[in-house]
Each structure stands twice: as structure tokens, then as C-alpha cells.
Symmetry: D2
Subunit: 331 residues, 4 copies
């Protein structure tokens, strides 16, 4: 068997959530250190992606590092919260120049924290940058503001990597970076090598892409800096446990990664609203390990031949053979 | 011109909101009395639908009535909050019998409040009753629990009307009452005359129904007790301002209501996350008045003839003629 | 191992197809007898559903029976083609009364053929009965016409069963029987015991239903007369090979059937536009056999316990354990 | 009033159609010359886009030109039929190298016809280039084949423009050029100035884009060579009459075109399966003229101010004011 990949998770996986109905939250608030302890309790994770500012936590960055260390974890990334109330009409594309400045300042600070923690990248998720209604914005203006803001940010930190996590929508009805291709166009326009893509499997699926194809596109452009996995019903970003619905397409996604020698973190971005988060993470990793075994077992030569002739049925036989026996060892 | 309909709104239209990203909310919390004052400030509304328990409010039901009265408003309905943390795995279908009992108690109490305020109906919205994952529940069991719970509730209050507001999903990935037809089947099984449907235009649209057709179905079963309007992009319950996107289908919806002599409240269920709620309501009513004028102007005889021959183009001409001139008086 | 179910297929599985682009067809036309021989060549099928009139075939019903017999097949159903040019604006709901009469005549004749061939049911698929544009039809009128037509048809043949195959859309933008619940309402209104539902897994999935839940609903109403399986990407009726995408939900669907002791035909409704149809059917049956083995291996007691507490993760573990080992014997 | 735009249509608007159910077609076949006469009968069209080869027509290109001339029409484009049976597994990305060669030859010939007729561009629509099943193809290979084929084609004809009409799917479940951004990436890679985008409003809408935003993106890249309009329900390429559903977003689309000084043809790509095509075209143009009047009446300064502050409600008021009075002159 080939070596297992590094597994990771967004630290919010171990928090509790609110939505517009359960405004009192799906459980008591959970502080950052407790979230980290929960991540450690999974027993399978090596890295986590941390939201910043560290909500509900009064300590120092050093305290965070200690909590990580005692759980055998490392901070792989910082995700600055440029989508809270202050930024509800956008961060880098906010109509108010003062808020745009504020967003940039916060991104610079987050970058400093990422450097302090030795992170691999800063994750930029522009969930509030977009529009809700027809005619609400000048599309050219918001695009230009995004590109300029990004250029200023990533140009100022040549030693840190930044990733854009694209998503079609939510919370804005439309987000400025909805797809892999659109994000790559922005990255080109920004013109710096340290800006890439974080491909979230669920966002891709729900955005009508074929995730494996989107991954190949990003790889061919040299920009697949990171990935997240989860699952959904294709109509919304449900952030379900990976392996709940789209077994074949999740397998195909990791197959494209392996075929290209991509060796980054297999990272969870799940929202277990009503489930035990430690168990949800453990179960996801169990499934990912099954996929890893299935990749080892897959007849790559035969698959390549099937793909050369676009033979869907032959490819399916090869895939089912390894996928539907992938939990034998775990049985 | 025919008489204008009665306009109303869910009181939450005038609150602020949270979601899973802007956990600090899209604005400062707004208390119930202030929400009522905002509803009054619209200047066009006669009735409101009130959430219960009265969140962030220490006064009496009498205080609420006074606030309504001084704003020229009446409570048309009570919407019990059977979708907060306690009920995150369901109300009448919660796996825990104690929570099911608690939900019923709360519904009985809400009914008492509705009676005290002279409401027309209690609105039941089962947003947490459903499932998220394949294999999570026994579909027969949850259905039976819902039917039994409803029977107990509505059977105990023969003098009050109850409505089920159906919706395909959110917050649960799947909700037990996702469509008009499914809800009508439940109502039949419950077997009481005082249980009907609240048809939310946006829920219908987003659930792949034709809202006007769903309205006709509910009317033909004698169960269209109430309606809500708003708009969306057909992929989610965006709760946008009515008239933002689906002008023609909104018009068609009200056309079916008029054709059947349905004379209930034209009620707003909008979530103006980032907009001024008073202006959002005013603008919605302006659009609804334009639709009302268009209905007056529509050549019903010619339309009936076009529909008898399924002549889509003839019908479209008649509709555009009145819809695309409907704001002349308001111009 | 429990006994294998009976496998079947729509005979069109073995035809070639046209669409609005490849108007010259995805292959040479294939006559009915050749289609039957292909179905026989699969080596796994016991029954087929036959379109009628027998297109491109000059022989007698007796010739058809002979072809079936020599291939070890039986006609389980007749599907009258009430969706060709003549019926492009509807069959039982056509705006032209003469066409409505014609449709009924054709349905009566198809029923006679079904009786002659000893079929279990006549399948009614109202793909052209619906509407395309807002305001095109009177929804009440088309519904009443459908109910009256059905009553006349099924009332005239008390010894034959009829099934309505519901589908949200295609070829009409909206079809009058889009969902299980709506179809059950129609069946109630028709008022005859010999009218039921054919639940097509893909139609259900694509219509925002949970197929297993829809199956349970039809069973609880005593109306699940037949099922079809295939797969799709949830946005259209792709009619892909079963087991291509939704492995878990297909498994859940058959699990509900078994739990209820439903013992009908496991029938394929696939459109292998660009694939070898014999191989496509064989591969689908191989997957269905794997599901059957997984059902045998599933810990039903533990699953029932998980479902009683709505424990999604526990259910998922039990399911993955049997599903992801289901091809071991076939490996 | 500003000058009216040039109106045009795909000639297939005036044909009849087949689909996988009505395999006998939605009407008798209509020859090319008759289609042209029908286009002329609309009385509003100046240009048409012609499929090639000229199906069901034995005459010369000169005969076609004569038919166009006597109807006051010009051929604005040629659309080579690289999506019929021969190309059912792809044209430039077909797994069979001989078919890829055949496709290129056909495209070269089509270009010659376009030059002979004085067309503005050759339209490339890769409806069969893509995949249907997970694991069916190597995504890198099909992308490379597409780019190489395009480079060879457009490089050989520097004096002719070519456009890629992107679309998410149909007839393939996934098409290689599904979005504006993805198509722009391909165009960059091809590296020739004479290759651009044809933006079909319906494809954009149904592909989760905001059509006005997609138009702005293509314009900013200097590649919006042509547009098509129609309408749909956002879930499929219904090719309904423009103005049936998305009045506001169609208006917004043309608003972005005007704001940028884009002055190409306003072209119809409608499929009136069950409607009179001449009337369908006329009605579409009537609606487009109303939009044109509304653009003249729109308060651009006030709208720009609203957009600068992302004021959705202010923008909506301005839009409704002109859109809902746009048929007054036509009333």
C-alpha cells in the first residue's frame, strides 16, 4: 500500500453553528481551544485550518500553538473572517472604501498570524463579495476592486501563499468567484505566483462542475494549492460528511489528484450541524482511507485504455471493482 | 378599479438575521415592539404574522396588542418557533418522545396566544422535521408521528385554523412537507377541517412546482388558507423582495387567486438581509399594486379563450400588454 | 442468500435514439424483434415493457410473443406511445377534443394488446400532458380532463392494472403528474383500485424527492405497482446506467422495498445513447445483484435502532460496511 | 429614441424538431428555403444564422443567397453540424482520430461557405464534445484536443471570425465549454484574435451565471463576438420565447451591452416546438423593442449612483419604472 495522505480539517468542523432559524445555535458555543482538542480527539488529523480572529478566545497565538502541539496538530492555514457583519456587503468589493481598507488591514494581520504559526497559506473566502439582486452592482467595478485588492494583498507578502476558495453562492446570492475557471481568470489578472485556488469538492459539485475536471484544470494552470472535501445533494453547499452521497465522483476527484502526483492535504470542510463532530471526522477519514486503498487497487492501465476510447462502461467496471470492495480490510 | 387586497407581512421581515457565516448578525438585534413599529412605518400593511415566543421581549400579550393597535395592525397569525435549538432534530417528529411532547405543549400554548390576539390561524412550519442523510430515518415513522401530532393539535382546537407552510428544505436537507400535494395528503390523513395550507410562492417555485398550479390544487381541495410572497432564483429560498425576478409567474399566481375568488391577505415573507426592511416592504407592495391594476386590465375572456386552446403566445401577448404597462399610473 | 429478484427492462433500452441535435439518430434504427433479441442476449432479464404501437414492425402480436418466448422473456407491460407528434399538445388533456378521443381509443387498444400478451399492467406516461409557458393553460381544466380520461380508461378494464409513471418534465416543460404525492391525489380522485404508480428512481431523484421516501409513501397508499431504475445527475432525466452516481440512494431505495416486502420486478429504464445496450444492461444487473447481496448482509436490527434515534452516522457506518464490500464475491 | 438594433435569428427557429419521444417530429420537415421564407415573413429580421450542411436541400449556395435576398435577409453566420450521429462521441475531441480529422475538414468547408456568403462568423457549438459518465474520459486529453483542433482551425482562416457557443450540457451530460470563463481560458490558450464567444442568454442563466455579468466579462476580454437570446426555467435549455420568464434579467443583459457600446445583432435562438415560429419570432422582437425603449427611458445616472452604493432597492425602482411602462406605446 502507498503511504497514506495527510488528513486535515477546518477547525470550524468542531464548532457549533447558527443559521437564520436556529438563531440560538445548534449547541452551546465551543471555544477555539476546545475545538482544537476535539480535532485532536479524532486521532487521524495532522493539520487544521484556523479561522481568525480567534473567536471567543482571549489568549495569545502562542497559546493556540501550544494547544495544537499537544494535540499533534499544525495550523496549515488561516481563514480570515471577512464575512461577518462588518463585511456584509463585501470585503475587498465593499461599496464603502473605508470597509475595503478595513478588510485589507485585516487580511494583512491575518497573514502575519499565518506566518507566526508557520501556515502554508492564507485562505480567502469571499462569501459576502457579490450581489443579491439584478442591477445591484456594476459587474466591472466589483471585479476590478477584487483584482486590485488581491494584487495589493498578495503582492505585499511574496513569501506567503494565498488561495481563493470559490463557491457559486451563499451567503450572497451570487459570489464573484463562483467557479474554477473564473477564479483562474482573476488569478491571471492579479499576476502573482503566490495566489492559487482552494478547490472545495462540494462547491464544485454544486456549481455544475465535474470536480475532477476542475481539479485537472487548476493543476494544468499550476494553481491547485489546496482542496477541501465534503458532500451535498448538488443543489446547495450542504457540507455533509464526505462519502455520504457522491462516492464515485469523490473517488474520481482523488484519482485525478493522484494521477497528477498532487500530494497536498486531504482536508475536511464539513458542518456536522446535528452530529458529533469527532465521529463525523473519523467516519470521513475512514471513507477516505477506503478510497486510498481503492486507488492502490485500481487497474490504471486498463482505465487509461478505457478513457482513450471514452468507454464509460469499461471504466465503470474497473471503478466498481475497487470501490465496492474498498472496505473489505476495514470490514 | 377593484378594491385593493389586504396587505400583510411576517414580522420577521423587520428583524435582523444571522446565518452560519455572519454569526454576529446582519445588524443589531431588533426587539418585537420595534419590529412592529417598523411594520407600521411601511404605511401599507394591515396585518402581521408574529413569531412566538416573543423573543427579546419581557412584556405581556396585551403590550403586543397595544403596539399593533397604535400602528394600525392586527395579528393575523402566530408562528410558533418549533425550529430552534431544542427542536434541531425535529418537533412533532423528534426522535426523543420528550421533545415531541414539549413541541406539542408549545403548539398548544401558541394556539392560546393566537386566540387571545384574535388571529385567523396558527402557522406550522416544520423546518427541522425531516432528515439530512440517506438512511437516517424511517420515512414511515416520521410521517406517522407528524400525522398523529397534527391530529392531536388541531383536533384539540376546533375553533382555530392551522396551516402547514410547506418547503422543500432548509434548515433540514429534506423537510417532511416539501410540496403542496404531499401536504394535502397529510391533511387528508389528519382528517380535520381546520387544517390547511399556507402556500409560500418562493417555496413553490424553488420546489419545482408552478405556483399558480399549486394554488389551484389547494383551492380545489378547499385548503388554501393563506399565502406568502417573495422571490428567489429558483435554487434556494432566497426570500427576495417580491417582483425582483419572477414578474410573470407572480402575476400568474395572483391571477389564479382572483379567478377563484380567493380573497385572503397578500402577505410578504421577505428577508431583507442587507436592505432597509421598511423600504423593502413598501417596494414590494408597490409592485403588488401594479399587479392588482394589471389584473383589472387583463382581458379575461380573451385569456380564457387562449387557454382553452393552450395558445401560449396569445396568452403571453395579453399578459405583457397589461403587465408592461402596469406602472403607468405609478410612473 | 435470499432469492434474486426478477430483472426486467423497457424494450427501448435496446433501441437507438434521436434528440433535437442528432436528428439522424444515435445509430441505425433497430426493429422490435431485434430489440427483443438484444434483451434476450443480456442473459439476466426475465421480462420487458413494450412500447405500442410496435414501431417498424409489420407482424402480429403472436410474432412478438414468439420472439419473447425464444428469448426467455415475458411482456410485463405495454407502454402506449401517447407522446408522439399527434399528441404533442397532450393526450388525455389535449386542447382538441378529437385528439383526446383518439388518445383514449389508443389506450383502449393498447390495453387489449396487454391482455393478449398477458401483461401485468399498462403503463401510462403523460410526457406531453402539461404546459410549457406561464398562463398557457387553465390548471383546473387540464387536471379535470386527466382525471376524467383516466376514470374512463381504467374503469373500462377492471381486470387490468394501470400505472402512472410520474416525471417533473420533459418533453413538456411541466408535466401534470410530476411527483408521487401529486399522482396519488389523482389516483384518489379517479377512484379505482386498478390504478397505481410506477416510481422511476431517476424521475424521483431529479424531482427533488428522496426516492426511498416516495416509495414508502406509495406503498403506504397501497399503490406502488411497479418501479424503474436508472441514474442521473439530479438536474435532468439522464437515464444513465443504474449505479453510475447515486449508489447509496439506490441502495436505500431497494432497502425500503425489501423492508416492506415489496416483491415486484427490478426494472431498468436506461437510455444508453452512446453505449452498447446489452453491456449496459448486464452491468446494471451486476450492480443490482451487489445491492441484493448488501441487503442480505445489512444489520437490519442495528439500522432500525440507528433510525429510531435519527443517528445518521451510525446508519452510514452500517451501510458503507455492506455496500463497500458488496462486490467481493463478484471481484 | 435611439436607433433600433439589428434583429436576427438562427434559421432552425423556423424548422420543426424531434426529440427522444416525438421521434416522428413536431411537424412535417421544413426545407431550408421554406425556413428562410418563414424568417422573411416575420418582417423584423435582417440576418439569420444558417446550419450547414444545408439539410434537405439540393441546390447551390447561390440559391440560398437568392432566397435570403428576396426575403431581405443576410447570412450572419454558419453553424456547422458537428453534433449529428457521426460526431456523437465528439467532433474535435472524438476518441477516434479519423473522426477528429473529419470534423476539422467539415469545419474548414463550413468556413468556406461562410466566406462565400459573406458571413460575419462561423459558430462552433460543441454539444457532443464532453462526457456523460464519471471516469469516462481523461479531462486533460479532451481539453488539449479541443485547444489543438481550434488552433488549427482558426489559425488557418485569419480573415474569418469564429465563436464558441458555450453551454453547460445537452446533448452530452457535460460539455467541455460550459461557461464564459472556461471558454475564455480556452481562447487564451488557442492564442488567436479571431476566436471569441457567442453568449447565449439561456445557456448562461441555466449554467448558474448572471448573464449580464458574463457579458461584461467577455467584453472586458474583448471577446463578446455575438449573442443569442431566449428564455428558460433555469434548469434546462428550454429555448422559450424571449421575455417569457426572466424579464428583469433579460433587460439587465441588454443594459450591460448598451453601457459598453456593444452594437452587435440581437439574435433569437428559440425552439418553438409547439408554437407558430413566425409569431414566436415576432412576439420576441416586440418584447425586445420594449426593452430597447426601456433602455432609452432608464435614468442611467441614478442607476449608476445606486450601483455605486450597491443599493438594490433603488436600482429596482428605476428598473421597474421603465420596464413596467415599456409597452405603453405598443399598447
Amino acid at each position: 500500500m502507498t503511504d497514506l495522505p495527510t488528513f486535515g480539517a477546518g477547525i470550524w468542523h468542531f464548532a457549533t453553528y447558527k443559521d437564520r432559524y436556529a438563531t440560538d445555535g445548534y449547541g452551546e458555543p465551543v471555544g477555539l481551544l476546545e475545538q482544537i482538542d476535539r480535532a485532536g480527539a479524532v486521532g487521524e488529523l495532522s493539520v487544521v485550518d484556523l479561522n481568525w480572529p480567534f473567536v471567543g478566545f482571549e489568549g495569545t497565538t502562542e497559546d493556540v500553538r501550544s494547544a495544537l502541539t499537544r494535540n499533534g496538530l499544525r495550523a496549515v492555514a488561516i481563514t480570515p473572517e471577512i464575512y461577518t457583519r462588518e463585511f456584509m456587503k463585501g470585503s475587498l468589493t465593499n461599496p464603502d472604501p473605508a470597509v475595503r481598507t478595513k478588510a485589507l488591514e485585516m487580511l494583512h494581520e491575518a497573514t502575519a498570524v499565518a506566518q507566526e504559526l508557520g501556515c502554508d497559506y492564507v485562505k480567502l473566502w469571499f462569501g459576502q463579495d457579490g450581489w443579491d439582486y439584478p442591477f445591484q452592482v456594476s459587474y466591472r467595478d466589483v471585479w476590478q476592486q477584487a483584482v486590485h485588492g488581491l494584487r495589493e494583498l498578495v503582492g505585499a507578502h511574496p513569501d506567503m501563499r494565498f488561495v481563493i476558495e470559490y463557491k457559486p453562492r451563499e451567503p450572497r446570492n451570487k459570489i464573484i468567484f463562483p467557479s474554477a475557471a473564473r477564479t483562474l481568470l482573476a488569478i491571471q489578472e492579479v499576476g502573482h505566483d503566490n495566489l492559487g485556488v482552494l478547490l472545495d469538492f462540494g462547491h464544485s459539485l454544486y456549481g455544475l462542475e465535474t470536480p475532477a475536471d476542475a481539479a485537472q484544470l487548476c493543476i494544468d494552470h499550476g494553481r491547485l494549492f489546496a482542496i477541501d472535501v465534503n458532500d451535498n445533494y448538488r443543489g446547495w453547499d450542504d457540507d455533509m460528511v464526505v462519502g455520504s452521497v457522491h462516492l464515485v465522483e469523490t473517488f474520481e476527484f482523488f484519482h485525478v489528484l493522484r494521477r497528477n502526483g498532487w500530494d497536498g492535504v486531504w482536508q475536511l470542510d464539513q458542518f456536522p450541524f446535528r452530529e458529533d463532530p469527532v465521529q463525523a471526522a473519523r467516519q470521513a477519514v475512514d471513507f477516505l482511507k477506503a478510497l486510498h486503498r481503492a486507488l492502490d487497487a485500481l487497474d490504471e492501465e486498463a482505465l487509461a485504455a478505457a478513457q482513450t476510447s471514452h468507454d464509460a462502461l469499461a471504466a465503470q467496471r474497473l471503478v466498481q471493482k475497487v470501490l465496492l470492495t474498498s472496505m473489505v480490510e476495514a470490514g
